[in-house]
Structures are given as C-alpha cells and as structure tokens.
Symmetry: C2
Subunit: 420 residues, 2 copies
Amino acid sequence: MSTIDLAQTVMERIEALARISEEPDRLTRTFGSPAMRQANDLVATWMREAGMTVSEDAIGNVIGRYPGREESGKTFLLGSHLDTVRDAGKYDGPLGVIAAIACVQQLHQSQTLLPFAIEVIGFADEEGVRYQTTYLGSKVLTGRFNEQDLKRFDSRGISMADAIRTFGGNPDKLKEGRRDPQQLLGYTEIHIEQGPVLEKKYQPVGVVTAISGQMRVRARFTGQAGHAGTTPMGLRRDALVAAAHFITAVEVSTNDFPGLIATVGQIEALPGASNVIPGEVILTVDIRHHVDATRTSACARLNEVAHRTAEKRGIALDWEIVHEAQSVPCSHELTALLSKAAKRHLVEVTELASGAGHDAAMLGEITPMAMLFVRCEGGISHNPAEAVMTDDVRVAIAVMGDYLLLLGNQLNPLSGKKHA
Amino acid sequence: MSTIDLAQTVMERIEALARISEEPDRLTRTFGSPAMRQANDLVATWMREAGMTVSEDAIGNVIGRYPGREESGKTFLLGSHLDTVRDAGKYDGPLGVIAAIACVQQLHQSQTLLPFAIEVIGFADEEGVRYQTTYLGSKVLTGRFNEQDLKRFDSRGISMADAIRTFGGNPDKLKEGRRDPQQLLGYTEIHIEQGPVLEKKYQPVGVVTAISGQMRVRARFTGQAGHAGTTPMGLRRDALVAAAHFITAVEVSTNDFPGLIATVGQIEALPGASNVIPGEVILTVDIRHHVDATRTSACARLNEVAHRTAEKRGIALDWEIVHEAQSVPCSHELTALLSKAAKRHLVEVTELASGAGHDAAMLGEITPMAMLFVRCEGGISHNPAEAVMTDDVRVAIAVMGDYLLLLGNQLNPLSGKKHA
C-alpha cells in the first residue's frame, strides 16, 4: 500500500472506531466500558494484520509489538489513547493509535525490521471522564499509577477496581505494567493539534517542542449582595463588576508574556438572580506557557491585578492555585529527527508548543518523548465537529515512517553499544 | 398607648408573625399555605382589637375595616403583604400591615372617627414565590387578576384554584373582590426601604415619589468555544471577555443618567469548563429609573454598547427585553400630605424613588397612592438579616397617624361634596 492508501485505511478505521460508542447517537467511549472492550478487540485485529503480536496489560492498554532485528534491542513506543470525552470527535486519540499501526504495517509489508522493536499502545484512559482522573493508561507504564484511585467510584457506584476486573484486567497486577526505562528508546505520539495554529499557517503537520506547563486558579470575589432595584450605584460592592474588570485584565496581560495563554472558562455569580446584585463570584483562570518561569510570573501578575481590582471596590479576594503541572520538554534528539523527517515532505516545518496535555507528557517522565501534531479543522476538538483531512494523515504517516527509518539508521552503527 | 408602646407592640407582633413559617428553621410563608392561614387568623385578632371588623376576600386577603364618621364616606386603604420569599426577613410586608393596624388602634383608643373609613389589608401574595406570578392579592382588588393563572401549578402539582379553595377562598368569585375606584380615597403603604439610602442619610423614614419603571434584558453573546490550552490569544472569539467588557460598561454608563441603576445579576458561560474558552455567555441586565424616558434611553445606549463590544470581537449579540414595567408615580396630593406629616417629626424629609415594586404600584392603577419607607439596616432585604429599629417604627406610626388626621382635616369641610 502507498501512503495514500494507508491514509485512506486510517480514515476508514477511524470511522469504524467512531461507531463504537456507549451512547446511541454520539461518540462516548470511557475507560473500562463495553465500548472500550470492543474498540480494543478491533484495534488488536488491525495490529495483528500489521504483523504485531498483541497483548493487553493489567489496566487494559492494548499493546501491539513489532519485533526488532535483534532480540536484545530496545523498544520504541508509539501510541495514543482510545478513550474519548462525552460527545467526542473521532480523531482525538484514535488517530495516533491507528496512524502508528499504519506505519508498522508499512514496515511489515516491505518486510523491514529495524534495530529496535516497536510497540504501538492504545491507552485505556487519557481523558479521565469516568473516574475524574486522567492518564490512567500511561500512568501504569510509568509507575505513576496511584493505587488509591482504585477505590474511586464512577457515577453508577462501580469502583475502579471492579471496572478493571470486568474489563478483563487485574487491579492487583498494575505494577507489572511498569516499563523499565533502560529497555526503552523513546516514545512518539501523533495527535491532532486541537488548536488553530497549523491551519492558520497552512501546514499539514507540526513538530511539538514541549507540552506547556499549566496552572488552574480558583478566584473568589466576595462583595455584598443587595437589591438591584434599591441600591444606588455608588453604594454597591458588586462582585461581578469587579470580576468583569479582572477578566478584561487577564486578556490584556497576556500581551506582556509572549506565548502565554490565559482563559477564564468558568464563572458563577451568586445568588444568581436578575434582580439581585451579585455578592459573590467564583471563576477559574487557566494559565499555560511552555516556559515554567514565565507561567509563574504571569500567574503572580494576575494575582496582583485581581487583588488591586477587588481592593479598589471594597471586595475580598480569595486566590487559590488548585492545579499545577510543570512544562514537559520534548527530547531534543527525537524532535530534531522528527523535524528532519518532516523536512523531507515540507518546505517549512512548524514547531509549536502543545497547550494541551497528552500521554506523551506522562511517558516523558521515563523516556525521551516527541510528538507530531496534525492539523485539524478550525482547531476544534472535544466536539463531534472535529475534522482532519486525509491528505494531512498521509503526510503524518510519511513523516512518521521516515522518522522511524532515520532513527533506525542513526542507531544502526551504534546498536551494539546502545542496546547493551 | 403612646407611639413608643405602639411601636414596641408592632415589633412584638412582627416577631410573632415571623414564627409562623412553612419551614422549620427559617421564615417562608407563601400564598395559600397553612402558615398563611395561621398568619391571617392572628392578624385578624389584632385587627379586631383595634376596633375593626374583619373579612377575607375570595383570594385570601385579610381585610380589617374601621368605620368612618359617615356611612356614605369613602374608604382609605392601608396595607402591605403577609407572604414572604423563601428564607425571608421579618419586615418586608408584615411591617406595613402591622404598623397600619397600630395607627388604627391609636384612633380606636382615642375613639376618633375620621370622615372616611379605613381598611387595612394584608395581601395574600406579593412575592409570587409559589406560582411565579406576583401581586395576586392586590390584582384582585384592582380587577387585574388573570383568570388563566388559576390553572398554574405549584412545585407539588397543586393548581392555584385548588390552593385558593383549600385556603378557604373561592376561585370563582375573584371578580367580586374588585374595588370600585369611586368608593376609594386612596392607598398608602408603609414598607422597609430595601435599600441603603435612608441609612446613609440618617433618616428613620422617607417619602416615596414614584415606583421606578424597570426593564429586564436577556443578552446572549455568541463567540466560538475552543480549547483553552491550544488556541492562541489572537485567534479567539471569547464570549466571556466580550461580556466582561460589557459589564464594566454597564456600570460606567450609569454616570450619564443620574438616578439610573443597572445591574447584571445573572451570568452563565457555556460550556462552563475551566479548560474551554467560553463560546456563549447569557446574562441579564436589570435597568430601573423613575422617569420612563430616561430608562428607555439608557437601555438603548446599553444595547448599542453591547453591540459595539461584541462586533469588535467577532461575536454575535442577541438582545431581548424580557420584561418591562412603567414607572408608577405617587399621588402628588397624598405625597405632599405625607411629607407635611413627616415634617412634624423630622427636620428634613427625604424623598426617594422606590426601585422595588410594591402592592402600591398595583393599587396606583385605580386610586391615588403614596408610600412611606422605613430605614432598614444596611439596606438588606429578602434575607433573615433584615433589621429595623423600634424607634424608626415609632416615627413611621407617628407620621402615618398624623397623615390620617391631616387627610381627615383636609377632607372635612368638603366631605359633603367629595362623598357625593
């Protein structure tokens, strides 16, 4: 098959996967669900077609292994996740798994063995929809899985341990899924961009430089509720007006920190009646940057702005950082190689930071990591409107295929040493 | 009893009424409830003590009548409502009924008859909590009751018609409760201010000039939802940032319309996740002024500001006026008389518009109307923290008592003609 045919196959397989859902009229496929069972089984058949032996680890990650030239060689990991959000698009996750299988299929059909084995992993959970905790699949590989999470319950009262058992996994053997970093060569993930940068630049794919660090702040503005009809403007302590000034300042402040993105995504004004002055507003601020120091400076600045805005209006402010994740840089070596592969197909290679988290961020904890983004229409994701062009998938497969060859080529003379 | 003792009695009776609730640990007394039954019965005993004959009309308004000097005389109405919001304060409503009874008691104990009869009315519903439609009591007196409302259901599935029957009223005879404007001299209501103006001016009471007109706008800003981590700031159409600019502009624009009050009380940002750029924001704007023309100009200005703000950001705006009520001016004659009575007790008399609606606004449709506001702590109402000072109630009773005498005095020489 040519890469065009491979891309076409990838698109058909993504359509087939998208029909496997736990809800009748929309795509929802959560961790440990019967739909995931069906998805894993289908993906396993494609892996076998591509010359891989298939296994499932204790948490339910489906893993296809394509052997290396030497038994003693290291393993290079490819993959992404097979679970989805509720009412999901088709590409977020599955594209990375299915495209990786296509790359292996290309090796298999040309009977090419590389100096390393390849494993393609379909992670059992990245979105965290069912148990409100993300990266369950990749955490098992890195040894970051928190056993306490097994006692979490889903909305129907099923514990995670039971869900794993029902799925066919084994909650008592999760530790065995941990990979020895010494045996790994690296991890590379294909994923839709989930943003509009590549589209704006007319680029089918882009090479990721880092997964941005992130913090989520919960800010509470406390003023004084009052009757909207009887409290003169000059006598108010309106928490929503203060919050509104802050929200406009959030946007403005990003001008001073190139690359910073900051979003107020949730807002609640209490008591929330049209005829009552809001006495309290709670909002979230999501702050991301690929340089951690820039992100923390920006957060400090926003905190200062919020305090100043609140104080001027006699409003109390409570500012709490509820989540923080460090930036995860991609491996320089792998990223350089991925760019080199991309340059074989593109005049110009776009490098960009990933503002979203990915399994790659977790894998980056134990092995060199790289990512290839694929353009998606309007930058839309987590939505049935997610769309990817077949020709972009073709480019992604071509780049990833060359990347694997370049990697093999680079390792070849050194294989004796490297694999020791 | 002196006015001090009367005020003390009023405060005790308000406490007694506050213990009559349909909820164990807070004050909630809605239309037609067993608590309202008990409240009406208790109020009726106080009316009788004050020399009144008591009746209940078909909707359940409790009415005490104190006769005038002549059988043929007109009737002057006093009153307020006995129902409350959920988790209410004690004074909003009951103060006006109980203080009016105290004024009649003062006439009764001095065996004074005026050239007109007085009726004190405890309205059965002003807040509209149970059937989401306000002024049920006063609407019956003015003939504005909408018979369709009888088919409304409360949250437990009880129709309004059945609720009226259970209470002891008669849904088929509501029309009989309509008062002939020719037989009425006017209506005057004592009510807590529900705002902070009198407190700021150190005034125990104030004379109301008008009940402000009001409009409620529902504005919807529609931008583009997107991933908060992957959409660069320059490529966003964030509906919340646009809405925030508008909210700050609402406050600023009130500077150009003296006396205008405008409030954004409700806001919802969708989809409402911390990591998603809000694609849609729906908010309410409550706009009030005692001059209707000023209110409509201000609304037009805000509409223009909202459109300009939205347009600049590529955001669509939907602007809908969902509620509009005209300003109801108080009677010049009655208000002048009420001010004259107030000047007997105060160095300076504060006149102010009422930003909140009252039964008086409904009664104003059929008869001259006036209102006396009583200072309340912090301007707080619709809240258990509502508080009124006994001495302010004393002043209110003294002013209202003198007002009735002044009214009788003014009518006396003309009574033959006026009552013809």
